[in-house]
Subunit: 327 residues, 2 copies
DNA sequence: TTCTATTGTGTAACCGATTACACAAACATA
DNA sequence: TATGTTTGTGTAATCGGTTACACAATAGAA
């Protein structure tokens, strides 16, 4: 890789002039500019970001913290973030945290060591150690002063419950996501409100993690605790599908004997039959908008709102029964 | 963030001594070492990787090139890579290439600009521009001199075809993956060998991409071209599930009227019912082993084999009929 | 014409680490 | 005791950029 010195030499100017051409800063004569551009072309020069980053104390790298990239919600989010970030001249350092606080801390340290320009975080407490590094929370909201892109979990919980309530549920079970996930509580509250309003009884089933490895166990437990469930509001699509599978396996007809609604609208939720009805979360958008917001912060551009709320949406497929009118 | 200078001052030594303590290099007196360690502790100092990287012309970052992170094969691979790399003190820069050659080139440039230590690539031609940067190909094999971790696609193709051939297929259709994906051809060859040996007729159906967005279109085309297919060897799980869904929707019984086998064993392939029979690719392992191999190259450690081949495995679920013996 | 403002360019310090080299002290060996 | 080796430490150069500052040349204003 050629350096700025070599370019300067070939162009017959000083490194300062080359740098000015590169950054379009300060005054550069037409003559010099041309010579420098030619030299750059000839040497196929492109500046070393490490050197730049050292001086500026700020790199073109953005840290992306994910709870678990194997959870199908996050690749989509990552893709959105990557697209946005890439368009704006940044790149992502991937921090897969596996719901492990230590690993999260470790990554925040690594980020700092690399003069990261900002952090996109879909995990809990990332804000602590970072001093002057902008951070945007994705999906999960920490506190109200922080930047965040998220969805209305309360509304999502309501939508799911509403869809269920409209379909003559007999034995409702609401799966509640892990306590540490702030959204879980909101969703639950939304669902409960609807069921209370409609005067429909419900049971709760607490899941302890969103990790893909734990589904089998959880599903087994679910059927043990709620063998007569006829209407399930699941905490995400993975659990919904897992329950659906187990149900079909047991010869329970979906949706006649057991109807179910998921949460997220994972890409593969429409690949099953019966297709999973679910609350669609705009994972890609969350990543994309979050990255845009972060880049605006990084570059001190005016930011309209610190918090962007994206809508969720009911997606009806075959896992819910026909809607009962006049209720 | 404290610097090495501040540590030196607090400890009453020179920066060189601090550096020696940090890197356990050269001679350091017991007295000095203790003072430095105390200062480090007191200032919560950790070295700036950017400065280190500038001098060494080599960072602790590894580039990860993926064709499409939304394709569920790759998050798993990424997770494996991340786990390994992280254990060895490196971090990943995510390069999601979207099957776009330009974006790939762009990322390779970005990687160079960041003094990347090495590249893990699951995309085609990444080797061109890199001069002295080690690269390990994941899943896809380019040429025989290159480092790679991959599976035996030929064998995979055979396994899939064998499973099918053992189950009294009447109308076989083999879905062939995109031509650009080297493995596709191998798998096809493996499958064809089996069907030829068994004297079973088959049709081919060419898919043009592995991108998640294109499934609907492809499945529609598939049923138009092969309405009477009774045994499908799919090019991956996503297509297999998509076809299964469409079939069930059309009232075609799985597996009695149409049996199907996928490829990959995605996490959600076991969440459907009927569960998808498939050829399991060790995506996580590919990433993990690939990252280990790369790190060994980077650190000039002895490498036993340039190419690691991992086994694939037939996973039987409900999408295939019962095996017919005595054939 | 003279003075100031604008334009153009180079020199050198700087970012925060690593390390070659010089030098001194302590130790071992002859 | 003289000499060589090992140990310990600091100074300064270096990595590849950016930019403050100095200075010169030119243009414009008075």
């Amino acid at each position: 890789m050629a350096t700025i010195k070599e370019v300067a030499k070939l162009a017959g100017v000083s490194v300062a002039t080359v740098s000015r051409v590169l950054n379009d800063s300060g005054y550069v004569g037409a003559e010099s500019r041309k010579k420098v551009e030619q030299a750059i072309e000839e040497l196929e020069f492109y500046p070393n970001e490490v050197a730049r980053s050292l001086f500026q104390k700020k790199s073109k790298l953005i840290g992306l913290l994910l709870p678990d990239i194997a959870n199908p919600f996050f690749p989509l989010l990552a893709k959105g973030a990557e697209d946005a970030v890439n368009q704006l001249g940044y790149s992502l350092i991937l921090g897969n945290v596996q719901d492990d606080v230590e690993k999260e801390e470790e990554y925040l340290k690594i980020f700092e060591q690399n003069n990261i320009a900002g952090v996109l975080s879909a995990v809990q407490g990332s804000s602590k150690r970072l001093k002057n590094i902008p951070l945007v929370n994705l999906d999960r909201v920490e506190s109200f002063e922080q930047y965040a892109v998220h969805t209305n979990d309360y509304q999502g919980g309501m939508l799911a419950a509403q869809a269920m309530a409209d379909r003559d549920p007999k034995q409702v079970v609401i799966m509640v996501g892990p306590k540490e996930v702030p959204g879980s509580f909101e969703r639950l509250a939304g669902s409960i409100q609807i069921f209370k309003e409609r005067d429909i009884a419900y049971h709760l089933f607490q899941t302890t993690s969103f990790r893909l490895e734990d589904t089998d166990e959880t599903v087994e437990l679910f059927f043990k605790e709620h063998p007569n469930a006829d209407s399930v509001v699941a905490s995400n699509d993975v659990y919904a599908l897992a329950i659906m599978r187990e149900a079909v396996k047991r010869g329970i007809n979906i949706p006649d004997e057991l109807q179910i609604i998921g949460y997220d609208d994972m890409p593969f939720s429409r690949l099953t039959y019966p297709g999973l009805s679910t609350i669609a979360q705009p994972a890609y958008e969350i990543g994309y908008k979050g990255a845009q917001l972060l880049c605006n912060c990084i570059e001190n551009k005016p930011v309209k709102t610190k918090r962007i709320q994206l809508p969720v949406e009911l997606v009806l497929r075959e896992s819910l029964r026909e809607k009962v009118e006049h209720e």
